[in-house]
Symmetry: C2
DNA sequence: AGTAACAAAACGAGCGTTCGGTTTTTACGA
DNA sequence: TCGTAAAAACCGAACGCTCGTTTTGTTACT
């Protein structure tokens, strides 16, 4: 009987239940997944599930919490890219890290959309709202310095990094979670490269700082 | 008894049912909405719903079909922007049209996410896949001409218009459908303006065509 | 002995769908 | 214009089933 480093009493069982629930929720949604199904998939009895979690919704909440923990873990690749704060030079790294993050957390990402639909976004709203603030904290110092050095254009780089991050997350989510690969009519890496070029240089020809000819009617 | 221009027999009833179902599906999801609830909200009896639609899923399918019809209607603002094919000069118009489109079809847009979650994307996959092709048809001619005139940079403008369109749809969907307003820490129009600037000019300073200093390690 | 972990049956409610029946509309020969 | 019979529209109870949860226990640690 080992003592000292021993895990909380029934951590193994709850971990199995959470894993099973994640797989089921992410594939069929919350409402369509029954406690009995989770019971069968995890090997725990229904009564035991209620003993450990109290309710079905509590299981869902636990899974959401797990995702934030993974996502904000300073040791994962994505957080390291953010820490380095070298946008837009590291756009390729950002894309790679986000691709990996979406791949690794495929099931968890589905939970976000499930929450929006089946719970009106109750469980995830707070996080979304704090996102702008988090970016501000991470990047403001770095951007101020590099602006002074003339390394940035006239666009607010904070918006740039948020636009790029969100877009890449969205792109890979559609590709990997919604099951619609190559949805720009080209392969993934090509689409990402083009996107990075746009973020860095825009679609207009370089050099000419002349304003666009006024083609809008009203 | 008017004859000639008389509508199909029970169009009014089915329209009421579809409207009620759309409101309920979009707010609570497919599984969480019961036929009895649709019956109460529409004023039709449950039996009558089955008489007109045959099954619950058939109602959902009808709503998805309605959305594509609205979205591809050549008379709406968004399709007119696409027809004009003046990207990227008309980015402001594109943003306005997409904002309106998302606002007008808020409930229908939720159906897409519901389909992805509760039906594994069965009802909408075909459309997503045909999207690249549709853009190609609309824009290829216009882009070829303007490339010859030197009005476009080195970025593939077809990717540009798809990136911009998809991003704007995504942005307004989060704002208006997911209930998370101003999620970049600024108000909507400001965030859109910044995004448009990025698409046109990129985040790097203009004029300097020098390559980025190699800051990547591997 | 006491507490946490587990199991299984049972409960009440709600589900999608079907069915038997009534009402309304339609079609058409007289 | 009317009468009438077929067809469509409509209703609500009932069927068989599954749901989230509770209850009542038994087993296993400490």
């Amino acid at each position: 009987m080992p003592r000292g480093v021993q895990a909380a009493k029934s951590e193994v069982a709850t971990a199995k239940a959470l894993e099973a629930a994640l797989g089921l929720f992410s594939k069929q949604g919350y409402g369509a997944t029954s406690m009995r199904t989770i019971s069968e998939a995890s090997g725990l009895s229904v009564g035991n599930l209620y003993h450990h979690f109290g309710s079905k919704e509590a299981i869902f909440q636990r899974l959401i919490d797990e995702y934030w923990e993974h996502l904000l873990d300073p040791n994962n690749d994505l957080q390291r890219v953010f820490e380095a704060a070298e946008f837009p030079d590291d756009l390729e790294d950002l894309a790679t890290a986000i691709e990996k993050s979406v791949e690794d957390h495929r099931s968890y990402i589905m939970l976000i959309f499930i929450d929006v639909i089946e719970f009106s976004g109750t469980h995830i709203r707070a996080f979304y709202e704090s996102m702008a603030e988090r970016f501000q904290k991470t990047y403001s110092e770095s951007f101020a310095q590099r602006k002074r050095d003339g390394l940035l254009g006239e666009v607010d780089p904070l918006v740039g990094v948020m636009v790029a991050t969100r877009w890449l997350f969205y792109f890979f989510t559609v590709e990997k979670c919604f099951g619609v690969p190559m949805h720009f009519g080209m392969d993934t890496s090509q689409a990402v490269d083009e996107f990075i070029r746009i973020v860095r240089h825009g679609v207009l020809p370089r050099g000419g700082s002349a304003p666009i000819p006024e083609s809008q009617s009203d």
